[in-house]
C-alpha cells in the first residue's frame, strides 16, 4: 500500500505538456485548466480515432476514384500519389474523408486501363476474372504488393457522419461502369489483403 503524501504540483508548463501528451493530470481542476489554457500545445481529446478500412475509404472517396478514372496519365497519377488530398483539393473534388497512406496506391491500381475496362464490362464477373488471372503481364502480376488484412477487409460502420456504409452502384452506372461496383470492390479488397 502506498502512503498518503503531499501532492506536489508541477510547473504549469509541465502540466500543460503532460495534458497534451494525453496523461491523466491528477491535480485540482483550476490548476490543471489554468495551465492548459495558458500554454499553446496541441491538445487532442481523441483517445482512439475511428479507423476506416479500405472499403469505407473507397465509399467515402468514390468521387476521387471517378475523377482519377478520367485523369489517369502518368503525370496525374504521380501527382496524386505525392499529395492525394492536395491533388483532389486542387481538382475541386470533395473528399468524404482525408486519404490514409494505403488507399491512394490502390486507387491508382484501380484506374489502370485493363482494370477500368473490366469494371465497365457488362459481364459483371470481368473484374473477378481479371483479379485472378494468371496471364503474364496481367493486372495481378503487376501488383504483388499486399496490405494488412484487417485494413483491407474491415467492415463498414453504419452510423458515420457524412460517410455511407454501402456503395451506390447507380452512381457508377451513370458514369459507364457496370452495376457490380460494390462487388468489384470486394474482389479488389480481397486481392490486396495479406493472406
Amino acid at each position: 500500500m502506498y502512503k498518503d503524501r503531499l501532492n506536489k504540483i508541477p510547473q504549469p508548463r509541465t502540466i500543460a505538456r503532460h495534458y497534451a501528451e494525453g496523461k491523466y493530470c491528477d491535480y485540482p481542476a483550476d490548476i490543471v485548466l489554468s495551465a492548459v489554457n495558458s500554454h499553446d500545445y496541441e491538445y487532442n481529446p481523441t483517445a482512439i480515432p475511428i479507423k476506416l478500412g479500405f472499403i469505407q475509404m473507397f465509399i467515402a472517396n468514390y468521387k476521387a476514384f471517378l475523377y482519377l478514372s478520367e485523369h489517369n496519365t502518368p503525370n496525374d497519377t504521380s501527382a496524386f500519389l505525392e499529395n492525394p488530398n492536395g491533388f483532389m483539393e486542387k481538382a475541386g473534388v470533395q473528399l468524404g474523408t482525408p486519404f490514409d497512406n494505403v488507399a491512394p496506391k490502390i486507387f491508382i491500381a484501380m484506374v489502370e486501363k485493363d482494370m477500368l475496362e473490366a469494371m465497365r464490362n457488362p459481364n459483371t464477373s470481368a473484374v473477378c476474372h481479371l483479379v485472378y488471372s494468371s496471364d503474364e503481364d496481367s493486372w495481378p502480376k503487376r501488383h504483388p504488393e499486399r496490405y494488412p488484412k484487417d485494413y483491407m477487409k474491415r467492415s463498414t460502420y453504419a452510423t458515420l457522419k457524412d460517410i455511407p456504409y454501402l456503395l451506390d452502384d447507380n452512381i457508377f452506372v451513370a458514369k459507364g461502369f457496370n452495376n457490380h461496383m460494390s462487388i468489384n470492390i470486394l474482389h479488389i479488397g480481397d486481392f490486396f489483403a495479406e493472406k
Binding site: M1, Y2, K3, D4, R5, L6, N7, K8, H18, Y19, A20, E21, G22, K23, Y24, C25, D26, Y27, P28, A29, D30, I31, V32, L33, S34, V36, N37, Y43, P45, T46, A47, I48, P49, I50, K51, L52, A60, T97, P98, D150, R154, S155, Y157, T159, L160, K161, I163
Partner: protein, 328 residues
C-alpha cells in the same frame, strides 16, 4: 477525421466557478475558498447564447454547478432569469451553506423561485460537513421543499455508511418531507481525489471486473463549460483531470465543432454504448494488465484513461474489439 453521427445535446452545464467554501479534502474538482476562476455574468450569458444558437431545437435545460454557485451572489439570480427568458428549465446544485437560519434560507429560495429556478439539488457528506454545518444544508433543503421544489438531496456514503443520514433521521421535519416525497434522498459513493494530498492506494493487481457494465449516461448529452471556456465531454467526476475529456475551448472554436468532436473518439462511443466496465472486462480477458480500481461508472472510466497501459493496448487490438462491438 471520421466521426459518428452526432446526437444533439439537451443540456448546458455551466461549471460557474471553481471556488467553494466547503474546501472538501476529496473534492473532485479540488475547489477551495481561496482559489478558483469564476465566470462573469457576461461570460455565462455568452455561453448560453452560443449553445442556444448552435442547437436551438434540442437544448432544454441549463444546469448551474461549481464549486459553489451561490458564491456568485446576485449574478446567480441574473443567470437564472436569463436562462428562463431563453426558454430553458434552470437547475442548480449547492452545498446549502446559505441556510444559516431557516428564515434566511426561505427568503433566498423564494428570490430564486421568482427569478425562475426550476430544480435544486444539494450535495452533502462528511467531507463537506467538517467545514460547513449540516444545519445550513438541512435548512436550505427544507425551505426549498416547502417552497414547492422537488429537492434532490445527495449524500456521500463511505463503506456503506452515511453518518449525515443517521443525524438527519432524527430530524422529524426533514424526514416528514422525505416521507412525503418532497425531498428525494440519493446516496453516492465518495471517492478519494488527489488535491493537496496525494492519497495512498493499493498496488495494482489482476482485478476481475465483477459488476455488470452499464452504458455511461453522462456522455453525449450535455455541453459542459468550465470557467475557462473549456468544453468537457462529460459531467462526470474527475473529467477535468482527463485530457481526453477536454474537447476544446469556446473562445477558439465554434461550440458545435467542439461538442461534435466527442463522436470522433471510438473509445468514448464504446463507453457510451457499453460502459467503461465493459472495457476493463475486455482488457482483463485479453491481457495481463493490472488495475488500480474497478467498479461501475466514473471509477472504471478513470482507470481506463489513467492506467498508462490500457489505451495503448486497445489501440493495438483495435480490430479485435471493434469487430465485436461495432460490426454485425
Amino acid at each position: 477525421m471520421p466521426s459518428f453521427r452526432p446526437r444533439k445535446p439537451y443540456k448546458i452545464v455551466l461549471i460557474t466557478t471553481f471556488r467553494c467554501n466547503a474546501a472538501c479534502v476529496d473534492c473532485c474538482f479540488g475547489c477551495r475558498p481561496d482559489r478558483g476562476k469564476t465566470m462573469t455574468i457576461d461570460e455565462m450569458k455568452h455561453y448560453v447564447d452560443i449553445c442556444m444558437d448552435a442547437y436551438p431545437d434540442s437544448i432544454r435545460q441549463l444546469d448551474l454547478t461549481g464549486g459553489e454557485c451561490f458564491l456568485l451572489g446576485s449574478d446567480l439570480d441574473e443567470i437564472i432569469r436569463y436562462g428562463k427568458d431563453r426558454g430553458l428549465l434552470v437547475a442548480l446544485v449547492s452545498n446549502g451553506y446559505w441556510g444559516k437560519s431557516y428564515t434566511a434560507a426561505l427568503e433566498r429560495i423564494l428570490q430564486l423561485r421568482a427569478s425562475g429556478l426550476n430544480e435544486i439539488a444539494f450535495s452533502v457528506g462528511d467531507d463537506h460537513q467538517h467545514i460547513l454545518p449540516l444545519k445550513g444544508c438541512r435548512n436550505a433543503a427544507v425551505a426549498s421543499a416547502r417552497a414547492g421544489y422537488k429537492v434532490e438531496f445527495r449524500m456521500e456514503t463511505r463503506y456503506g455508511q452515511c453518518s449525515v443520514y443517521e443525524k438527519l433521521k432524527e430530524d422529524s421535519a426533514f424526514m416528514r418531507l422525505v416521507n412525503a416525497g418532497k425531498i428525494d434522498i440519493v446516496f453516492w459513493m465518495w471517492r478519494k481525489y488527489n488535491n493537496d494530498v496525494r492519497h495512498g492506494r493499493g498496488y495494482p493487481w489482476h482485478w476481475r471486473p465483477y459488476e455488470e457494465s452499464k452504458p455511461c449516461d453522462l456522455l453525449f448529452k450535455n455541453i459542459v463549460i468550465t470557467p475557462y471556456g473549456d468544453v468537457l465531454a462529460c459531467c462526470g467526476i474527475g473529467n477535468s483531470r482527463n485530457p481526453h475529456m477536454r474537447l476544446g475551448n469556446v473562445w477558439k472554436e465554434p461550440v458545435k465543432t467542439i461538442y461534435e468532436r466527442t463522436y470522433e473518439d471510438i473509445l468514448k462511443v464504446w463507453i457510451g454504448t457499453d460502459g467503461a466496465q465493459a472495457i476493463l472486462q475486455y482488457v482483463y480477458d485479453n491481457s495481463d494488465i493490472k488495475f488500480h480500481q474497478s467498479g461501475n461508472g466514473c471509477e472504471a472510466c478513470i482507470e481506463v484513461f489513467e492506467n498508462p497501459k490500457i489505451i495503448p493496448f486497445l489501440r493495438e487490438h483495435y480490430d479485435d474489439w471493434a469487430k465485436k462491438i461495432f460490426f454485425i
